[in-house]
């Protein structure tokens, strides 16, 4: 049943600061927050107000257009504030944690004994549903649709990404429970993308595909495109590998437990390793005292360097993220930088002499390394997108708001992360991921779901 799919296109960016295989459990943070902004296209309707007491699993808000989808408190405690931004947009709902607040008791059951609708009900009520995303578009799945199949990638090839084989090796039982629940949601199959010699190879009731190749081989979208590409009118679902554990725990214990492992990585981290804490924990709780002393500015990213979100010490970790990366900001000028040999600066091309250092890990900062220009160089993007897609022409269709062309050229198959490497290698510094989301948003607006 298993077959190895070799992907040739792509690029592994070797950076300094990969996490050591060592997990430290952090104490329950003082505060956690749920951020509606983590969910693409969500219009939140609040169910709580400041000073309300909530248990873990109590709904904090729901989706105005899909009221059945609840977004629940990751831990119990007191709602201390609802922070709003421009035009009263809800940015974060902050909970002061209280270990004694307890959890909502959900039904505890073996998912194999439940019907699809019962599993769905439970996931919707417990706040697990938002972890399930749909393709096309990479937005939260709609409970009313039947997906063709469900795809899960069990490895991440992004720079400095956590190694889930290590992180989850002791939790295969819970993972299997989560998978069993997911299999109830589709008439098709659940697909698992693994690396060779993976601990996930023994998971049952799934179709396993082994992948090898550089980043973005670990992206679920790339795996779908190489197993069975999405066509117009089809819907598949995806879920992050660690989030399957949340679902597994729910069915095993009847309680929500949003504990997950984050990799704290990057060249600015003193001792990069893994930390176990709860989803929505403050960034400060994970990084305080763990960064290198530096006179220069540091950039903190919730997620990886290609697709993550820039955060500050006052922010909370992203709902879907399993990684925090800290790199130098790089907001400095470099004298005649473009003319220098730059032995220590990574480039996909051989235009700098860093190609002499084969196998070396680099320090990368957030400098653009140039100014934005028109598309000039061709053939770069094609080398890093292992899908049957013409990336430049898809982007041009997006720039032109040409819906027909976007559809024909594969907008249904991609989300930002699948084309993040294009943005990295781009000579003209074009904001590829922003464009991809612009295209997707236009499709949602014009075509509905």
């Amino acid at each position: 049943m298993s077959e190895t799919i070799k992907l040739r296109k792509g690029l592994n960016i070797k950076l300094q600061g990969g996490a050591k295989p060592e997990v430290e459990t952090l104490p329950l943070p003082f505060k956690v927050a749920l951020k509606p902004t983590d969910f693409q296209g969500l219009t939140p309707k609040l169910k709580v107000k400041a000073d309300d007491l909530v248990k873990a699993g109590d709904a904090l808000f729901f989706d105005k257009y899909h009221p059945e989808i609840q977004y629940t408190a990751p831990v119990g405690g007191k709602v201390v504030s609802v922070n709003r931004g421009e035009r009263r947009k809800i940015l974060e709902i902050v909970i002061e944690t209280d270990a004694k607040a307890g959890s909502v008791e959900f039904k505890k059951a073996d998912p194999k004994t439940l019907s699809g609708d019962e599993v769905k009900e439970l996931l919707l009520h417990s706040g697990m549903w938002p972890f399930i995303k749909r393709r096309p578009y990479g937005v939260i799945a709609s409970p009313s649709e039947k997906p063709l199949s469900i795809y899960i990638s069990t490895f991440d090839t992004a720079p400095l990404a956590p190694d889930y084989n290590f992180v989850m090796k002791d939790q295969m039982g819970t993972f299997q429970t989560g998978i069993d629940a997911l299999t109830r949601l589709t008439d098709g199959k659940v697909y698992l993308g693994i690396v060779p010699d993976s601990a996930f190879a023994k998971i049952k009731n799934v179709v396993i595909n082994t992948f090898s190749g550089p980043h973005p081989a670990g992206n679920v979208g790339v795996q779908i495109a190489n197993i069975r590409p999405i066509n117009k009118g089809e819907v598949v679902w995806t879920i992050n590998v660690q989030d399957v554990l949340f679902i597994g725990r729910l069915f095993e214990t009847g309680k929500v437990d949003f504990t997950k492992v984050f990799a704290l990585t990057g060249s600015e981290v003193e001792n990069p390793k893994y930390y176990k804490t709860v989803a929505g924990a403050p960034v400060a709780s994970i990084i305080t005292g763990k960064l290198k002393k530096s006179e220069n500015k540091q950039r903190i990213i919730s997620g990886n360097v290609l697709t993550g979100t820039k955060v500050s010490n006052q922010c909370y970790l992203g709902y879907y993220d399993s990684q925090v990366t800290v790199i130098p900001e790089g907001d400095n000028y470099e004298f005649l930088g473009w003319a220098m040999p730059r032995f220590n600066r990574f480039s996909f091309s051989h235009a700098y002499f860093s190609w002499l250092n084969k196998g070396k890990s680099y320090v990368a900062d957030a400098n653009l390394n140039g100014e934005e220009r028109a598309f000039v160089v061709t053939g770069q993007y094609e080398k890093v997108v292992p899908m049957d897609i013409l990336p430049v022409h898809l982007l041009k269709a997006i720039i032109a708001d040409d819906i027909d062309k976007m559809e024909q050229l594969g907008i249904y198959e991609v989300v930002e992360e699948d084309m993040a490497l294009c943005e990295f290698v781009c000579t003209s510094k074009i904001e590829v991921q922003k464009l991809v989301r612009k295209g997707i948003n236009l499709m949602i607006k014009e075509m509905g779901n």
């Binding site: 790199i327 004298f335 653009l368 390394n369 990295f424």
Partner: protein, 387 residues
């Protein structure tokens, strides 16, 4: 460098909108980013970016062009020496030639960059790097005797009508340097063709007996194939011709740089060579005249073929943008070169016209490549959808 940086930081507000010298904002920006890679950091999407930028890309192309410039300079001295029976050392030949090329380069860069700066300022854009390469390409494809005012005129024409009216670097349809050459070729054919323009000072002076100044292509067009220089001489470049085009070896060094750095498309280069060999081979099979019977591979070392295939056809803005399209585009250039050279005696050199023609065709090639890509995707949709 700190003091220079401080100086720039101090003067910067003057050039920003509202500043006294905001009229020269683009000019200031161009010099500032030339001196210092900017401190811009990523605002959306990927937090890290490849070290490469357009400045570096253009720099690599210029480095790749240096061998042809150095050899071309030497060859000017060498050809002049041959013509008038003057003995010079290698260095003397080079200096002799370089002093002839330098004014052409200065005029080309001066006029071209001048226009770029003015246009950027009018549009409120940054100055684009595109002309850095065009400015050196133009001298390299001119005959050494070209009057400087013609260089200025052609450069201005090419930059304004070949590029800026389309929107600047990245938006032009045809290769800017070739437009400059084509402009002169049709407007002043006397200065751009014939046997007297390729060797310095040949016009109006009497060379030593037996020296004609004709290029191998001219001999070939006259069906005088016995007069064509040896393959070795043509490959190494000891022949008359445009300044930078004569040495295939020097061009190959440049090609190696472009391919290794990943900046030039090897697909286009290879496809062009294959197209030429195929069309030349077909001519060899039906040798109706002497030109048709010269071995197909000779085309690769004659005239501007190698220079055009490596430095002109590969211009990413004007070539096909799809990878499959690049094969077709290059192949068609190769075929057209031979056709124009052999069957159109009015134009002994076919490379310029072949590339310009295919520049115009490149979007059409892309269109068909994309359409076939879409069709294939739709087919996939149907098969899977029914299964």
């Amino acid at each position: 460098m700190k003091s220079l940086r401080n100086f720039l930081d101090k003067k910067k507000p003057l050039f920003q909108p509202g500043g006294k010298l905001s009229k020269f904002g683009s000019t200031f920006g161009a010099f500032e980013t030339f001196l210092f890679t900017p401190n811009h950091t990523s605002k959306s999407g990927s937090h890290i970016h490849d070290t490469i930028d357009l400045k570096r890309t253009m720099t690599v192309v210029i480095i790749a062009l240096l061998p042809t410039l150095l050899f071309g300079s030497w060859n000017i001295g060498y050809q002049n020496g041959l013509a008038f029976g003057v003995e010079r050392s290698i260095i003397e030949n080079f200096i002799f030639g370089f002093l002839k090329v330098l004014p052409i380069m200065i005029v080309s860069y001066g006029v071209g960059l001048g226009i770029e700066f003015i246009v950027a300022q009018i549009r409120g854009h940054e100055v684009n790097e595109g002309f850095l390469v065009t400015g050196i390409l133009i001298p390299l494809i001119m005959p050494v005797n070209i009057p400087l005012w013609m260089v200025a005129l052609a450069t201005a024409f090419a930059v304004i009508f070949g590029k800026e009216i389309f929107g600047g670097t990245g938006y032009n349809v045809m290769n800017v340097a070739l437009i400059a050459r084509a402009f002169l070729f049709f407007a002043y054919p006397g200065e751009m063709s014939g046997d007297l323009v390729w060797v310095y000072d040949l016009a109006g002076n009497k060379p030593v007996d037996g020296f004609s100044g004709a290029t191998p292509l001219a001999y070939a067009a006259q069906n005088a194939s016995s007069e064509i220089a040896s393959f070795k001489d043509m490959f190494l470049g000891f022949i008359p011709g445009s300044i930078g085009e004569t040495s295939t070896l020097a061009v190959l060094i440049g090609a190696a740089v472009l391919i290794f750095t990943g900046i030039g498309s090897w697909k286009i280069m290879l496809a062009t060579v294959l197209g030429t060999l195929l069309m030349g081979g077909i001519c060899n099979l039906f040798p109706a005249n002497e030109y048709m019977s010269i071995p197909a591979y000779t085309h690769l070392v004659m005239g501007g073929f190698a220079f055009g295939a490596v430095f002109m056809a590969t211009d990413p803005v004007t070539a096909s943008s799809t990878e499959k399209g690049k094969w077709i585009y290059g192949f068609m250039i190769g075929i057209l070169v031979v056709l124009i050279r052999i069957f159109n005696p009015a134009y002994p050199e076919g490379m310029m016209l072949a590339i310009l023609l295919m520049n115009v065709w490149a979007p059409l090639i892309d269109y068909f490549v994309i359409e076939s890509h879409i069709k294939r995707r739709l087919k996939r949709a149907k098969i899977k959808g029914n299964a």
